[in-house]
């Protein structure tokens, strides 16, 4: 049995990627099992999805804590999520990145693979610059780097099950397959599965409502694009403040909007709603 864990953000297609992989593996004659876990159902929030592929029925219904393969759809997650937790020695880390695989940090003995899925997706018109849909390009790369699934089965699965633009997605999978680069792991100790230190029950507050505030939860790590407000054209209409779902806009002393960047998830709603279009969304990387 091969176990694969996907790390992405809500809206990038990580969940669909794990489902498509299951469809493709099934077409290859294997028995698949794929599923996501998510907490906050918001565009941009970190999402994890899992796939198991085996030749016989899978007698396990748990999340995957010791994967053979980790797939990262958004390079920004490398800085905020512990994506390589539990990754097996001899396993593979596959990242959507413009950087070379040699630059990827991974536990010792883990092969590293890089594919520029963002540019492949955009070249085929999949998603937008703010939210490219990279899943099919990444799956193409996965097919090449691991051989868990054939490119042929993957292409057929894309044609049958991708609801929009199947041809562009099939080409993106092919380009991902052709464009991935893999290097061997560095020498070094493999890292055992770490676990979060458990907060002992008695030290938690009595009841979950005590002394918690979203003020203390900085969600800026979700952001891939940052709003930049051009104040010269701002009319102080307050629309950005009204529409911001995260209360990430406040006002300066003279009434101009000011960003609370630690809470801004880069959703772009302010830019879309701003009547004189003074807000520009600028890519972070």
């Amino acid at each position: 049995m091969i176990e694969i864990r996907f790390h992405g953000r809500g809206g990038q297609g990580g969940v669909v990627a794990s489902e498509l992989l299951a469809q493709a593996a099934f077409l290859d004659g294997k028995i698949p099992q794929s599923f996501p876990f998510f907490g906050v159902e918001r565009r941009g929030a970190p999402v994890t999805a899992y796939s198991r592929i085996d030749d016989r029925p899978i007698a396990l219904r748990t999340s995957i804590t010791a994967p053979h393969v980790v797939v990262v759809l958004d390079p920004g997650l490398l800085a905020t999520e512990r994506v390589t937790d539990g990754l097996k020695p001899g396993g593979l880390l596959l990242v959507n990145t413009t950087h070379a695989p040699e630059t990827l940090a991974a536990p010792g003995g883990v092969r590293r693979a890089a594919v520029d899925a963002t540019h492949i997706a955009l070249a085929h018109g999949l998603g937008t610059a703010m939210l490219p849909i990279v899943n099919t390009a990444v799956l193409g790369a996965l097919a090449r780097a691991t051989e868990v699934v054939s490119l042929e089965a993957l292409s057929r699965a894309v044609e049958q099950f991708v609801p929009a633009r199947p041809e562009e997605n099939r080409l993106a999978a092919r380009d991902g397959y052709l464009g991935v680069r893999t290097v061997d792991g560095t020498a070094g100790p493999s890292v055992p599965l770490p676990t979060s230190p458990r907060v002992a029950g008695p030290s938690l507050p009595e009841g979950p409502m005590a002394s918690l505030s979203s003020e203390r939860i900085h969600t800026a790590a979700w952001r891939t694009f940052t709003p930049v407000i051009h104040l010269d054209r701002c009319t102080k209409c307050n629309f950005c403040w009204k529409f911001c779902p995260d209360d990430a806009i406040e006002f300066d002393a003279v009434g101009f909007p000011k960003l609370r960047l630690e809470y801004c998830k880069g959703c772009g709603i302010c830019a879309a709603e701003c009547p004189p279009k003074t807000i520009e969304m600028v890519a972070e990387v």
Binding site: E19, A22, Q23, F37, A59, T65, G201, G207
Partner: protein
Amino acid sequence: MTMKVLSGNYAQSYAAQLARVQVISAYPITPQTSIVEKIADFVASGDLNAQYVKVESEHSALQVCISAAALGARTYTATSSQGLLLMHELLHWASGVRAPIVMGVVNRAVAPPWNIGADHADTMSQRDTGWIQFYAESNQEVLDTVLEAFRLAEHPDIRLPVMVTEDAFYLSHTVEPVDVPEATLVDRFLPPREPHAILVPGEATRLGSFTGPDHYVDFRKQLADAIERVPKLLGKIEEEYRALTGRSHGGALPTYRVDGADAVLVTMGTATTTARGVVDEMRAAGHKVGLAKLRLFRPFPDDEIRRLATQVGRIGVVDRSYTFGRMGPAATEVSAALYSGGARPPLSSFLAGIGGRDITPHEVRRMYETLLEGRTPTTHWEDLEEEVTVHG
């Protein structure tokens, strides 16, 4: 037959489509929403000829089904967690007016704190509403059980609503191969509902009249008798389903390697799959362990539990929720069944998988070891002993 790679939620949707339901009410809630979304696709594409009613709450969703069922329609809806709790009043109404509704329920934790993971607290707290309750282990079982549920619900000897539940994410969002039977085959198994209208358009009839102490008890007793008839009928319905599809899910309490077992775990839903793997592994190492899957929770399979008790040394019941001030709800039921039975092996209540925690092979193995070591029967909160890494 066609093998499709489907989620548990889509297995519910395909079953509703194959059952040719006539009225669907829909109100979204995670992790149920994709069930009613897929049914909306079927209605929009013409693959299902049904009235699709969008409502403003779960309370109304169930009322729509009750009214449509009273007019003689085959009805389906789906919900989860807080949505099911909001339906509570109408759950009693549905069984009380003997509405043969089938409802998919995705088992999800109850707030607070907010949590969308698998947990049985939502349906366990509805166990006394007069609904028949099934818990499914796989997406295949979800699809097959929904079809069987319509047969049960609409049977003239039963006429009661049925919940077919599935664990959040572990089934609802898990895709795996499912054999979807041909429509013609399902039509033979499940013909259109026999006309049995309580309400008739144009005639002065009403649902839920006032009934005094003289007759109220009679209606309660009718309901009590009807639900008691389920186990026997389930066997016949499953036999018919097997004749058509070659599949059976083993009745109310299917067992696995329980003969002469020193320790048996009783599991519900997806914990069963993982536990079955552990049984094979421990049997191979010489430990006499076995497994029983509590598939039908209401009515409770007393006879099957008592028969199991005569074959095994110790029983542990794995619950994915807790009855505050008591123990695991399935454990209390097993315990009650055993009191009047011939054999009363030591019983332990294990609480695991609360709020979307994985029930891991390691945890299951530890439960078997606890039983095999003959430790004092008690309630064990397994999750508190585990450290976890949560992604996403």
